[in-house]
């Protein structure tokens, strides 16, 4: 059963065995698994419930519906735009379907550095398999690689850079290319059409438009969850309270620490909100003489892993990936204005977007202000500033190698490069706050996992060190930057956590 805010006509006081906060790759999975195990589950989602019939493929309408803070969440210095999902299904509704398992060296690093137990690649494999089966993960077929992705592949092959065609979670894809605005064909196997309906079918009660404000604890146990029922415009209408034996916070790496900090719980380590990693990215554009129509087809099917070697160094490196934006997004993001800007827009159909995604050791924080809203601070360290410069130069190389006639590095004022230009121009501009603008779609690690209660918020099973019946189950728990798109890792760890709760229920609620 899925109930939206508009259907709630008064204050609600519910009881459940389990209350899950959030319906993204973590919350939806744990809700489904526990409901299927016979537990009475209530799920609260702050965003609305939108389905394919509402996905109009218009960015001005869809981005605000599907993204946190209506697509405007930024760091306090406004240098990094942070895009996170906020509707039923969370970020899986708008993501671009890359499916990577957690890299083995990262799991080994988590074991070594943070004492994470029983989470080797082999031990996580059953969860990977269950999640991938549910999400219908498969390899992208070569014929499904669009022109834009093929341009990047062509450039890499000429330069000898290693890249791969990715796996994804789409079924009967029309290759319309509108993934980021929500799939109007239900081809994307997001939580919205997989785990959420499965949870509902198993008896979970899901309430949309219900942002959580506090989790109440007493006598060393979590007792209840309190929030608001809001209308379609976000205005509070009613109160909602759920008394539960187990609470699972899965609201994402900004909102989960926000809830815990506002609740004043689970923070004896002082680490809630710390260790924020973002996978910050910078986007370049290449302009070609030939038609690309980059918005057509699967947006991201290829990736370049030549500049990251987690076996050698699990803490450093970057991926290079294709990217594309729709007109408003592109126009707003391109530097400059007027005639020069317009000339670039005239080449909209001949552009290839490419990004550097940093596996970041740089760390930031999520705090809450006096009104309880999250404040995100993050600065790229000197080493990663240099890596960004390196990455931007490689992106320019790749674009030129595949025929780009000019490359735009998005500084303000813009830096235009042409074939044969000295790429050291990028060295001279470097990377400074706000120039170029960075983007993050993978905030993580703000409630980190680890066995030392002084250094970690949750243990190896995502269970609070302070409150035994409180779990955090989203990207917040990653002890370090993942170094790969996080959807499958988040879902697999949630699956593992759900099975832990299922198997240890009496001990947890005792």
């Amino acid at each position: 059963m899925i109930t939206t805010g508009a259907q709630i006509t008064g204050d609600l006081h519910l009881t459940a065995e389990v209350c899950v906060i959030g319906t993204g790759a973590g919350g939806a999975v744990v809700a489904k698994e526990l409901a299927a195990a016979g537990r009475d589950v209530v799920v609260l989602e702050q965003g609305g419930y939108y389905t394919k019939d509402e996905f109009t493929q218009r960015e001005d309408e869809m981005m605000p519906l599907l993204f946190e803070d209506m697509g405007q969440r930024v760091t306090t210095d406004q240098s990094i735009l942070i895009l996170q999902g906020r509707s039923v299904g969370g970020s899986t509704v708008h993501n671009l379907c890359y499916c990577f398992r957690t890299p083995q060296p990262i799991l080994e690093k988590w074991r070594r550095d943070d004492g994470v137990r029983d989470m080797s690649y082999e031990q996580l494999a059953p969860s990977f398999e269950r999640v991938e089966r549910m999400l219908k993960v498969k390899a992208i077929e070569p014929h499904e690689v669009n022109t834009l992705n093929n341009k990047i592949r062509e450039g890499c092959e000429k330069l000898g850079y290693h890249g791969l065609i990715a796996r994804h979670n789409r079924e009967n894809c029309t290759t319309s290319g509108f993934c980021i605005l929500g799939c109007p064909f239900d081809a994307k196997q997001s939580m919205l059409i997989t785990y959420v309906p499965a949870a509902s079918a198993a008896g979970a009660r899901l309430y949309a438009n219900c942002p959580v404000e506090k989790v109440r604890a007493a006598d060393s146990r979590v007792r209840s969850v309190e929030g608001r029922v809001v209308d379609a415009l976000g205005r509070p209408r009613h109160a909602i309270r759920v008394d539960a034996q187990v609470v699972i916070v899965a609201a994402g790496a900004v909102n989960s620490p926000q809830i815990l900090l506002n609740s004043g719980i689970a923070n004896s380590s002082g680490q809630v909100g710390h260790n924020l990693h973002l996978h910050p990215s910078v986007l370049l554009s290449g302009v070609y003489d030939e038609d690309i129509y980059g918005y057509r087809g699967i947006p991201q099917s290829y990736y370049v892993d030549h500049f990251i070697d987690l076996e050698k160094d699990p803490s450093s490196g970057y991926l290079i990936m294709p990217i594309y934006g729709f007109p408003v997004m592109t126009a707003a993001n391109l530097p400059g204005f007027g005639r020069e800007h317009s000339e670039v827009m005239q080449s909209y159909h001949r552009m290839v977007g490419i990004l550097v995604l940093m596996h970041d050791a740089s760390a930031g924080t999520v705090r809450v202000d006096r009104s309880g809203k999250p404040q995100i601070s993050y600065q790229v360290n000197a080493k990663e500033q240099a890596l960004f410069v390196d990455g931007m130069k490689h992106c320019a190389e790749i674009l030129f190698a595949s025929g780009a006639t000019k490359v735009l590095v998005p500084y303000e004022p813009p830096l235009w490069l042409r074939p044969g230009d000295d790429l050291r121009a990028i060295d001279r501009r470097g990377l400074r706050p706000n120039n170029p603008l960075l983007v993050s779609t993978h905030p993580q690690s703000t409630c980190k996992m680890g066995e030392d209660p002084r250094r970690a918020v949750v243990n190896s099973w995502c269970q609070s060190h302070d409150l035994k019946n409180l779990f955090v189950c989203d990207m917040s728990v990653f002890p370090s930057s993942l170094g790969a798109p996080p959807q499958i890792s988040t879902a697999a760890i949630a699956d593992r956590t759900a099975h832990y709760i299922k198997d240890n229920w009496s001990q947890i609620v005792a």
Partner: protein, 188 residues
């Protein structure tokens, strides 16, 4: 060129920055048109509701320089509903933020004597002068002016490039499976 942010500094910096924070994003002020969509109501075009005619004229002049419509296939700003789209968006802001935007437009319009020592208004400038003036905001050493430029730019891009009529000129096909628009019809 000498520049000063004296009057600009008298703006409520906190709320202004809160407003312009959106400008740092890819989508900037797209939320402005999202609210009617959230309400799932069709909003009829009933003329300008936030911007006074003289403010709309200033904003139109800004959009015209921001997007440059001289290229083939690109409609003139005045032939689209870009300003109505922006106005509908502003309508969704609370009154204080609407006031901030109106104030920004006033400062922008009357700013050349202050910021560039030119005895002209923005709309009284030649196109080249307007571009130079915009550029002075874009590259100002004062963050508040740069952010104001970004807000104006992003509103301009949102207003103009959300119009279906602009898509042909940039070779964008639009929605794969067209569906009824949830907000106001943006077509001229």
């Amino acid at each position: 060129m000498a520049e000063t942010d004296g009057i600009f500094g008298s703006l409520s910096r906190r709320s202004f920055l809160r407003y312009t924070a959106v400008s740092a994003g890819l989508l900037s002020l797209s939320r402005l048109r999202a609210l009617p969509a959230l309400a799932a109501e069709s909003v009829p075009a009933v003329g300008l509701q936030v911007l006074a005619p003289h403010q709309a004229e200033v904003f139109t002049a800004i959009v015209e320089r921001m997007v440059f419509t001289g290229a083939a296939g690109m409609p003139a700003v005045r032939d689209t509903r870009a300003i109505e789209t922006i106005d509908q968006g502003l309508l969704q802001l609370d009154a204080s933020l609407q006031s901030q935007v109106q104030w920004l437009l006033a400062i922008f319009q009357w700013g050349p004597p202050l910021f560039q020592l030119k005895l002209k208004t923005f709309t009284g400038m030649t196109p080249d002068e307007r571009d130079a003036y915009l550029r002075s905001w874009a590259t100002s050493r004062h963050q508040t002016r740069r952010l104001a430029f970004r807000a104006l730019k992003n509103l301009s891009m949102l207003g103009y490039y959300s119009q279906d009529a602009t898509w042909k000129g940039i070779h964008y096909d639009g929605p794969w499976a067209p569906m009824e628009r949830k907000v106001l019809s943006a077509e001229a």
